[in-house]
Symmetry: C2
């Protein structure tokens, strides 16, 4: 976290210098309860997002894709007291719905999506406590059939509980959306919201091989 | 919402042009289930925030103060289908704790805090439905005894349910904080978080008179 990157765009939390950070691909064996050296995790991801679009109603869409998550050096060598900061540096998920056709979700390049893994204070003296994980994400939702790209202004807070290994590959998580999170039209960013996300659940996948990542990227 | 204001700072949602909007002070009688003409509501507010500050532990602080909330023209004349957009244009709350001394909470001038009142879609055809209210807030927490001003990067989402009149004077509400919301040091904005808010509940007060507002402002 020495040198700042991406200084020109706002970030939801600490920026990581990833210029010398190694990519981590499958196959990997991840040791539980062990703060890992820094890296960029290349992981699968699935997500089920519920949208409310005026005129189209409320509908669920299943997404599948990948993320690249940069991790900081842990703040301590022991599991219990270490905190790890993360930057979501790449994401692409694809889904399709009868209501609006295909939807492609990517990171909003105007913001840096960031997060952290930590042990809740009340658990720090426990034996092998679970960590918690939070990530504030700003995304683009491209809907080609509507000629529309939606974006969120308030971050989507993705959380994973019961984290026993870093990365939390295979863990389910939730978008902490209270009632609704407004989405805006990228072609009219100062306008009123044009849709909402009303619910979001996701699951981190396992490590991808370099070939799998390239294949997902070129889809 | 015709002319944009404050174009230079980021906003969490639609900006209101408040240049010709009248201030609304006590005494007022507010008609239930009635979308009001636009105005700037001058209201009391109380809040109980729970902070986690490393070295100081987790502690609750009771705050009291005022807000000035600009309201848009409702999007429809009838209660059920009207949506009202809001900008929080001024806030000051004061509290004190044995752990850190006085804390003064004001709006972060670098962001425009915004919100909306709406009828949940499933209730729009009900007889006299309650509305919901959400406001995304970016604040400063000045702690003079520590020589520290904290700020949030992710907005604090304040919500009020069961809204039967606008403004929802007297209604209780919650900050929708999942586990923790990181706070940063304004003197080191790119650094790691230095504290967290772990819980927040609040209650909108009733209309203030112009004298009461001036008295609270000059405290």
């Amino acid at each position: 976290m020495s040198t700042a990157i991406n200084n020109l765009k706002p970030a939801w939390g600490p920026r990581l210098d990833v210029s010398n950070t190694v990519d981590v691909f499958a196959p990997q064996s991840v040791a539980p309860y062990t703060p890992p050296p820094p890296g960029i995790d290349n992981l699968g991801i699935t997500s089920t997002d519920t949208f409310m679009v005026p005129g189209k109603g409320e509908f669920k869409v299943d997404f599948k894709g990948y993320v690249r998550v940069a991790r900081s050096t842990p703040t301590a060598a022991d599991w219990n007291h270490s905190e790890v900061f993360t930057n979501l540096i790449e994401m692409c998920m694809r889904g399709e719905s009868p209501e609006v056709g295909p939807i492609i979700v990517t990171l909003n390049p105007d913001y840096l999506s960031t997060g952290q893994l930590w042990t809740p204070a009340c658990d720090q003296e426990a034996e092998k406590p679970a960590k918690a994980c939070r990530m504030a994400v700003t995304a683009l939702f491209e809907i080609p059939q509507l000629g529309l790209t939606l974006f969120n202004k308030e971050p989507i807070l993705l959380t994973i509980n019961d984290v026993r290994a870093i990365p939390p590959a295979g863990n389910p998580g939730f978008g902490r959306i209270y009632e609704k999170l407004p989405l805006y039209n990228r072609a009219d960013p100062e306008g009123k919201p044009v849709a909402d996300i009303t619910a979001l659940k996701f699951a981190m996948g396992t490590y991808l091989s370099e070939d799998e990542l390239q294949s997902l990227r070129s889809n």
